[in-house]
């Protein structure tokens, strides 16, 4: 007797049935929806078309699968289609955000004066060949620089305290630090505004903005650094102490270098977060059009603040400048991000 059905199927490979039922359902539903949507019902709208196409595709896919497969396979295929669609929507949103920002900013990015001049004496309706965001870049740099100089030692020191010294106090510190990562960014700015600016009489300056950024960055850096330090195997520490090193020598020569990549990642992610924070700097540093190198006196502009005031102005050229600044900010965050990826990969290949 001929037993054709007894040939074992290769379970890993995609069968012709898999591919054809997918492609067939997709094209059939496209044609059907085009016919009904455009020609017969004459509805409009791209979003409506795509949604109707997707729903019809799911129905057809389920129908085609039902003709030769049992129910679990139908459910599996429908869920697979849903998961791919969900991930596709998320990816599409990210791509559209990045691409839209760069496309809208390309008019301003092409001019060299955009990077080297500031907006002093340049009105909102001035053409793009005048003015630039130099003051915003300098301001962001100074503010984030000061914040890092304060938050990094404190954050790593706290992480070392929590992992190496331990004890009941460190548990309290850990609880409070974790609670503070939940602080909304506007409240960090408001805290600094009320204490430093109103309470102690500082003026709105780059230093106050740097303090607000420190308050925001400190719990994040402390928590990520603590995670990186905790991952260091206890055996390394014990080996150091068995060789006669004191705890400080163990930390300095063994634990910190081993966690170096993780600490660098924590720092860079903290910096990327701080450079894009708008709400704290909105309250604590006033916006200005001058380049200000002194963080202790006079308002200091920064990239997020410049973007915020530019897009609210309503002038098309000024909005274009705002998008250019947003492209610069996005490019900066991307560069920082690629650096962490590079550091992480370096660690893995070296091992």
């Amino acid at each position: 007797m001929h037993v054709d059905e007894d040939r074992p199927r290769d379970l890993r490979r995609r069968t012709q049935d898999d591919v054809l039922s997918l492609v067939g359902s997709a094209s059939a539903s496209l044609a059907l929806v085009w016919l009904v949507f455009e020609q017969m019902l004459a509805w409009s709208g791209t979003l409506g078309f795509v949604v109707c196409w997707y729903v019809t595709f799911l129905a057809l896919y389920a129908g085609v699968t039902a003709m030769s497969h049992p129910r679990p396979v139908i459910v599996d295929r429908l869920v697979s289609a849903a998961v791919h669609a969900g991930a596709g929507v998320a990816g599409l949103a990210l791509a559209s955000t990045v691409i839209y920002t760069f496309v809208q900013g390309r008019a301003a990015l092409g001019h060299f004066n955009f990077y080297t001049h500031d907006m002093f004496g340049v009105g909102p309706q001035a053409p793009l060949t005048q003015g630039g965001i130099w003051h915003a870049i300098v301001g962001s740099f100074i503010e984030v620089g000061i914040a890092v100089c304060i938050a990094l030692p404190l954050g790593i020191g706290t992480a070392v305290f929590m992992t190496e010294v331990g004890g009941r106090l460190s548990r309290i510190v850990r609880t409070v630090v974790e609670a503070m990562t939940a602080l909304p960014d506007i409240l960090a700015g408001l805290f600094i505004y009320t204490t430093l600016i109103i309470g102690l009489g500082f003026e709105r300056s780059g230093f106050a903005a740097a303090m607000a950024l420190t308050v925001m960055m400190l719990p994040i850096i402390a928590r990520s650094a603590e995670v990186s330090l905790r991952i260091v195997p206890g055996g390394l520490r014990e080996a150091g102490m068995a060789l006669g090193a004191s705890q400080w020598q163990t930390v300095r020569r063994i634990v910190l270098p081993t966690a170096k990549a993780g600490l660098a990642t924590a720092l860079i992610l903290g910096v990327a977060r701080a450079v894009g924070e708008t709400a704290p700097v909105l309250i604590t540093s006033g916006a200005s059009t001058l380049t200000n190198y002194n963080p202790f006196k006079d308002p200091m502009n920064s990239l997020p603040l410049f973007i915020f005031s530019a897009v609210r102005s309503g002038e098309p050229l000024y909005i274009a400048r705002g998008f250019g600044a947003a492209s610069v900010l996005l490019g900066l965050v991307l560069a920082l991000f690629l650096t962490t990826r590079f550091l992480a990969r370096d660690r893995m290949t070296r091992r």
Binding site: P72, V83, A90, V160, A179, M180, L187, L190
Partner: protein, 337 residues
């Protein structure tokens, strides 16, 4: 005997036992002291923020009493200040953000951990982290300039076909030929969708991390019993990651409650308690603080700080519950084969 005597060393007077623990070296004492001081100073710095915000609530509650929580208007010149409408608006925006972000983040996390090819996995994880790193003002720009002009059509469609639901009502006619576009802009719905983009990567990263840690022995057992991929996910991955799904969503909610800039760019402030999310006008606590701090007298500043303190307490509670859920999940437990 004499050799042993020589080897034994000089005679000791009494039989005092040797101290095995020599105590801490001086450099270690310094190290512990410095570490303790650093930890204490960070504790003081961060803890004082919460205490300071709470302390500022006292004069406000003194002056306005419990009507601070029931009054919906914010008119400082008439001395009528209350955060009830603002709190309602905050929760509306966060609820819309969660409804949009939860399915997206769950599906994306499942895609990355289960359906994506193995060599693409680390790239996709980086993309999710990148999405979390994009500054919120960039999302605000995208939402204000690209999303808003296009999504009002969706708002109108929702109003037209689902307007019998009270949350989808708008006081305009959706069937009119030249329908009032301005009644659909600057609504809690649009702000919620923008905030959803920001919180989705957070929830996705938490969920994906736990899904990837589901024990492989149980996965293979499901496949060996003849389960399809979805059957395996439903039987092994989702129960394993249940805590992470809930915890990740609550973390996303905590972040959505505190989002400032995107909301500030999109909404037009309106101080009335309404549950109609598609209609123009709403207000959230962070947008209120960001918008009003400039021309605030000290009494109003204290009121803003009190509103901020209430927001902080809510966010803290949500994040604490989220942490409990994530820690309570089975992550880390593997089946013993």
């Amino acid at each position: 005997m004499s050799v042993i005597d020589d080897l034994a060393g000089p005679e000791v007077a009494g039989d005092s036992p040797r101290m095995i623990d020599p105590g801490r070296a001086p450099s270690d004492r310094v190290f512990h002291g410095v570490a303790r001081v650093t930890g204490l100073s960070v504790l003081v710095l961060t803890g004082s923020i919460g205490l300071f915000l709470g302390y500022q609530a006292i004069p406000t509650l003194h002056r306005y009493g419990l009507s601070f929580f029931t009054e919906s208007q914010w008119q400082p010149e008439l001395d009528k200040i209350g955060i009830s409408s603002v709190l309602v608006g905050t929760f509306e925006v966060a609820a819309v953000a969660l409804v949009v972000a939860f399915p997206l983040s769950l599906l994306t996390a499942l895609f990355i951990s289960e359906y994506a090819p193995a060599r693409l996995r680390s790239l996709l994880v980086s993309m999710v982290d990148l999405m979390a790193a994009v500054p919120s003002i960039v999302y605000g720009l995208w939402a204000f300039f690209l999303l808003e002009p296009n999504i009002i059509y969706l708002s109108r469609w929702l109003h037209r076909y689902f307007g019998w639901l009270p949350i989808f009502q708008v006081d305009t006619d959706p069937r009119a030929a030249s329908w009032a576009q301005s009644r659909y802009t600057a609504s809690a719905f649009i702000a919620g969708v923008a905030v959803a983009m920001m919180v989705m990567p957070l929830a996705c990263a938490v969920m994906r991390g736990v899904f990837a840690a589901a024990p492989i022995g149980e996965r293979e057992a499901a496949y060996a019993l003849g389960a399809t991929r979805w059957g395996m996910i439903r039987a092994v991955v989702l129960p394993f990651g249940r805590g992470a799904v809930i915890g990740g969503t609550m973390l996303a909610m905590g972040r959505a409650l505190g989002e400032t800039v995107a909301v500030l760019l999109i909404i037009s402030p309106a101080f009335d308690i309404k549950f109609r999310i598609l209609e123009v006008g709403t207000q959230t606590v962070s947008a209120l603080i960001a918008g009003r701090f400039g021309d605030a007298t000290s009494a109003q500043l204290s009121a803003l700080l009190t509103a901020g303190f209430v927001l902080f307490l809510i966010t803290l509670a949500v994040n604490t519950v989220a942490a409990i859920f994530v820690n309570r999940s089975r992550s880390g437990a593997a089946t013993e084969i």
